[in-house]
């Protein structure tokens, strides 16, 4: 990508572009600063962000969303790193392969978000100290065996993935003014859904429980129970845009199918309340 060329072209249609961008020199300097260390994928994001800024749309909201997402990705990345490193937790073969795949994606998401925040002239927030027992730092919470009990580990993994899907979904509207950041967020969002599907399939196979499906039925936790209910409340919705999906247009669509067909968002506050016990 030739940044100079883009700026020059822009100058032709908007002679005041440099006033908007402070100065050509400042723009180039700002690019030179991070172009060396910036992940390639983040360059268009940076460019988009720069122009949004120049043309009067605040990056404040977008940065807030990215920082929020970074916290969640840190949570997931650390969780899978610890799980993959825990002795005798994840069985060798396909399970270990799947957890490594998911871990690598979450680590990549952390890096991409950090680079994007930097590119938008923000400072990536620090990684919190996590307590995966859900004990707020006591390391003695309800999930204290999460790295020794494989089924508990999968249950928490499922909850993190399903919550992550809902968290990104809830933020999409806040990114609508920035096409590049929105698209990147959507491309992360569907990867989290792929992870959720696979973890659920792993649990379905292990428990031989056909009620656990790759998708979310009603507000069912998949047998995990009250400790994670907040991650599923609201998923039972069968009405979309005021249209009832059960039996829609004379079909046999059941309430279960109607709820499964649409995943529901969570607000930032709802998500922060869910992850709060996992932060020391």
């Amino acid at each position: 990508m030739n940044i100079h060329h883009i700026i020059t072209e822009l100058e032709k249609v908007d002679p005041e572009v440099y006033d908007r961008l402070d100065s050509r020199r400042a723009v180039m300097k700002s690019f030179a600063k991070f172009s060396g260390k910036l992940a390639l994928a983040a360059v268009p994001l940076a460019l988009g962000g720069m122009f949004k800024k120049a043309y009067g749309q605040s990056t404040g909201t977008i940065l807030d969303v990215l920082q929020f997402a970074l916290t969640l990705e840190h949570l997931e990345a650390e969780f899978y790193k610890k799980a993959a490193a825990a002795p005798n937790l994840v069985p060798a073969g396909p399970p270990a392969g799947a957890i490594a795949t998911i871990r690598d994606h979450e680590v990549a998401h952390v890096k991409l978000l950090q680079d994007t925040i930097t590119a938008l002239q923000g400072t990536p927030g620090p990684m919190p100290v996590f307590d995966f027992s859900a004990g707020n730092g006591s390391n003695n919470g309800p999930f204290k065996n999460v790295f020794t009990d494989y089924d508990l580990f999968l249950a928490v993994a499922q909850t993190f993935e399903d919550t992550g899907v809902r968290a990104y979904k809830g933020q999409a509207g806040n990114l609508i003014s920035n096409n590049d950041v929105l698209t990147a967020a959507l491309n992360i969002h569907s990867v989290e859904a792929r992870h959720a599907s696979h973890i659920r399939s792993m649990r379905r196979a292990r428990t031989n429980n056909s009620a656990i499906k790759p998708w979310i039925t009603g507000k069912d936790t998949g047998g995990i129970g009250a400790a994670v209910q907040a991650s599923y409340d609201g998923e039972e919705l069968t009405k979309q845009a005021n249209i009832e999906i059960v039996g829609i247009n004379g079909t046999n669509i059941s309430a279960n199918a109607a709820s499964e067909s649409f995943d529901e968002p969570l607000t930032k506050d709802q998500v922060l309340a869910i992850v709060d016990p996992f932060i020391a």
Partner: protein
């Protein structure tokens, strides 16, 4: 095998709107001026003539685009579940039936939400699919699901109304759950392999032009996406 979905009579049999229809030619002769022809092409939202079925513009266009893809998926899984491939397991039957219901729910939702703006029921062309073969069915399902995910991901930035963006978001993650499941049925562990997820951990997003050209092989009906937003 080509399947005809329920096509409303006025759209299925309207010779004026058929590319091969004699009446269309006669009709056009009456208005032997290009301006008149252009006006006709421009005013009919269901024009299934040479230009194809017009999806519309702005958010309506994107919703019709999604409606078209959901019609394709729903028709496919309906056929799959009507007569499962040989060797299908009870587990596969249950999951594929669920997916069929989800795709029907999506299709009917868009139909109802679009109301009079909805494109007609599309005619599909599944002649390339062997519905008695597990490989053919799951291979096609994988193509449709990955394509659907990339379509919604690519359409997000084209949507203006945040409520529609949220709706697309509610659907795309379910498509991604399907995609991962189908991939795992084909090859366990391939739910998010490097053919769909890149080094940055990002799924694919495709613009309507790419998605529709991939879908065209499965559709008898021609779609006209000329009104869709591009940014």
């Amino acid at each position: 095998m080509a399947h005809e979905l329920i096509v409303p009579k006025e759209q299925g049999d309207n010779a004026m709107l058929s590319p091969k229809g004699m009446q269309r030619r006669k009709f056009l002769t009456l208005f032997a001026g290009t301006a008149a022809v252009a006006a006709i092409a421009g005013c009919s939202k269901d024009d299934s003539g040479d230009g194809g079925i017009y999806l519309g513009k702005d958010d309506i266009g994107i919703l019709n685009y999604a409606y078209a893809l959901e019609q394709l998926e729903a028709a496919f899984y309906t056929q799959v579940a009507m007569s499962f491939y040989s060797g299908v397991t009870a587990n596969e039957q249950a999951l594929l039936t669920d997916i069929r219901d989800h795709e029907i729910a999506h299709r009917e939702f868009f139909k109802k939400a679009l109301g009079t703006n909805a494109i007609p029921a599309l005619e599909v062309n599944f002649s390339s699919i062997n519905f008695s073969s597990r490989d053919s069915v799951l291979g096609t399902a994988k193509v449709f699901e990955d394509l659907g995910v990339s379509a919604y991901n690519g359409a997000g930035m084209l949507i203006k109304d945040p409520q529609y963006l949220l709706l697309a978001g509610k659907i795309v993650s379910v498509e991604a759950r399907h995609a991962a499941l189908v991939r795992d049925l084909i090859n366990n562990g391939s739910f998010a392999d490097n053919t769909v997820v890149d080094m940055n951990g990002l799924d694919k997003s495709n613009p309507p032009s790419v998605v529709l050209s991939a879908a065209a092989g499965f559709l008898k009906s021609k779609l006209n996406a000329s009104g869709l937003p591009t940014s």
